[in-house]
Amino acid sequence: MVCDFIVFGGTGQQGRICARDLLECGHRIVLAGRDSSAVQDMLKNKRASFMRVDLKKQEEILAAILRSGAKVVVNCSELIYNVPIMKACLVAGRSCTDLGGLNDITIQQFKLDQDFRKRGIINITGCGSTPGITNVMAAHAINEFDSVDTIDLGFAWDSNIKDFVVPYSIKSIFNEFNTAPIILRNGKLVKADRMNCMATYMFKEIGKQTVHCIVHSEAFTFAKYFKYKGLKNLHYMAGFPEHSLKVINMLMELGFSSEEALEVDGISIKPASFTTQVLKRLRFPPGYTEVENLWVRIWGKKNKKPLFRQMDCIVRTLKGWEKSGSNVNTGRTISIISQMLHTRLITQTGVYGPEAVVPCPVFFQELDNRGIHIYDNGRRINEKKHLLVNHPSILVDNHLPFS
């Protein structure tokens, strides 16, 4: 079967969400992963098939892309596979999307920009909730400004039942917490101290929460794309409810996030990999729901007067997607952007962050269709009526000068 999309990491949490969204949109997909047991239900759909792929083997990645016949490669795997999958796409001549590479891997990915241009294909890196929705919200809001001084952005979330669940890839969380955050200070990207780089904000639908700086790819891409507005300072901040943060900090303090292997009965195992596998077995308690706020706050000037703008994206546990909590805004977002490549709504070539190439109004409308709502200074903007009345240029691009 020739398919439309091949989803790497298709058997993982985000991969499964993305795959379901693609199937619900009528596409044919190949789920690529190591173990099909988690996707047996999905494989009952005739438009879905499974391919066993070990991402540690470059030749298996390339062979899977070619065999699938997919037009677009969707990478929902761990970030360490971003560059190998991009390199396979270069050989195969396929465009691709991924969920972001924090700082170091994002920098490596952008080094492939010229290769992607020459090959006539595109990679959009950071196509989930954040990076992803946050980037496009920033691109939407920044047009209002003559100049921008500071952007704070990130996420905050909470749940109705205060039991610990894995909010998103625990390996990513360990990575983000164990790595010094990178912030933009006076126009320069510098390392900061996570425990001292924080703020307390009121968040729509969440309430007051203290957020801490963590390393994230937005620092790199915003510094690149919003330099023309004079952007000087940027902080990416993560907010966890107390009951969740307490457990994550405890696991890290006790060494469960360590990458240093320990020997158990003659077998060498990394605590971080072990913890990831154990926590995958956790289930949401009955009646558990979440709400997440993805937020961007911009301080700058317009007509020489100070201007502040706040974008919020609110997602709650969606009916029919209860097992995914608020994670739907990552897996479904990469599905939307990947479909934009498939339908050639995005035609650029090279390596980009979503803020550079994803058309805001269509994107926001697609999110709304999925129950994910966008607010601009507190006013919901992605209801269809608003789009038609207030945004006649619905299909026009982001007006950014670099795409």
Binding site: G255, L262, E263, V264, I267, I269, P271, L279
Partner: protein, 374 residues
């Protein structure tokens, strides 16, 4: 006399070997699967009385061969091997002492009574702090007040050590998790039943130790005290563990996250037991490079009319909880030649409390009858 200390290089085993070495002139063999650890610990004594031997405890013929010729086998390994080790002692015709069998194993071990009696040897089960000192204190109390309805056992620790680590593991992680997760035995109105883990919360006032909350925990005392003191009118017997609230929070979180499951898990293509891996991570929090300053109080109350307690202080090298577990084990191992009865027994039925308390006092462990030191 010749002692074989199985697991003599482990947390408790080391302190048992030290006590045997200091208080006897006898030969001691430190044995276990890690010969390197056994040898390096033996070398520290610079004495021909202490030797190290490799033995795979699970290998019956190897273990039997090793203990043959010894007088007493002191079992300081995980209680899961108690029965197996006792069977080797039966074959080799040696006496046997251990640190307890967490109720169920103890019950199975008691069934070997006739076999030990037949070979004219003694097995004393549960010779640490609790079970161990608590059982002998119960025996003393029974001799004093003769008739009572209830025994309430618990313990508390007061620690003023400045640790340079985020968490302190007081003893074997696996045993600790058993205490938290196995259905606790409770003896009430003359009947034994199993409560749910974590039930039976009760606040104790430990005097200078302050107030602490305890909860039911599966312990060996419940396997033996109800029958040992039935004749005294005992109808209720409970055992509770107490831990600081923050400690409780960490352990309960690990349990709730599934990190203490006994299931196997595939990690990067390799199979491992979840609890074994977690125990490995947690083992690093057994304090090793600090001078521990703590005190442990063991408490056995009879109808709240008589409260027996034992107070142990750390000695700079070992924490109180290690000392009061290892010392009684060494004392009872040494008392074995003076025990006339043969068979498999809990300490309360065969250990002379006065002689036992005297030995504890020699080693700095004070026993109190109400508030009067004995």
């Amino acid at each position: 006399m010749k002692y074989v200390v199985l697991g003599g290089y482990g947390i408790i085993g080391k302190a048992v070997v030290r006590d045997l070495f200091r208080t006897t002139k006898d030969d001691i063999i430190i044995a276990g699967r890690d010969k390197e650890k056994a040898q390096s610990y033996a070398k520290l004594f610079h004495s021909s009385r202490i030797t190290a031997r490799y033995v795979d405890i699970e290998n019956q013929s190897q273990l039997t061969l090793l203990v043959k010729g010894a007088d007493v086998v002191v079992n300081c390994v995980q209680y899961y091997f108690n029965i197996h080790i006792m069977k080797c002692c039966l074959q080799a015709k040696t006496h046997y002492v251990d640190l307890g069998g967490l109720f169920h194993e103890t019950r199975r071990q008691l069934k070997l009574n006739d076999q030990f009696r037949k070979i004219n040897r003694v097995a004393v089960l549960g010779c640490g702090s609790t079970p161990g000192i608590t059982n002998v204190m119960a025996a003393y109390g029974a001799q004093k007040i003769h008739h009572f309805h209830s025994i309430d056992i618990t313990f508390a620790d007061r620690d003023s050590t400045h640790y340079n680590q985020p968490f302190v593991l007081p003893y074997s992680f696996k045993t600790l998790i058993d205490e938290y997760t196995k259905a606790p035995a409770v003896y009430r109105q003359g009947k034994l039943f199993f409560a749910k883990p974590g039930e039976g919360v009760k606040e104790y006032n430990f005097g200078s130790f302050g107030k602490m909350r305890g909860f039911y925990s599966l312990h060996s005392e419940l396997a033996t005290l109800p029958s040992s003191f039935k004749k005294n009118g005992l109808k209720n017997c409970e055992f509770r563990v107490t831990f600081p609230e923050e400690f409780n929070a960490v352990i309960k979180t690990l349990i709730n996250l599934g990190l203490t499951s006994r299931e196997e898990l595939n990690v990067d293509g390799k199979n491992t037991s979840i609890i074994d891996m977690t125990a490995k991570v947690m083992d690093q929090f057994i304090p090793s490079k600090v001078t521990i300053k703590d005190e442990e109080l063991l408490r056995v109350a009879f109808d709240e009319k008589l409260i027996m307690s034992a107070l142990t202080k750390s000695d700079g090298k070992y924490p109180a909880g290690v000392i009061d577990t290892a010392v009684p084990c060494s004392i009872i191992a040494q008392m074995i030649p003076t025990i006339e009865k043969k068979g498999a027994f809990p300490p309360e039925t065969i250990i002379n409390p006065i002689l036992f308390f005297r030995e504890l006092k020699r080693r700095g462990i004070k026993v109190f009858e109400n508030k009067r030191e004995l």
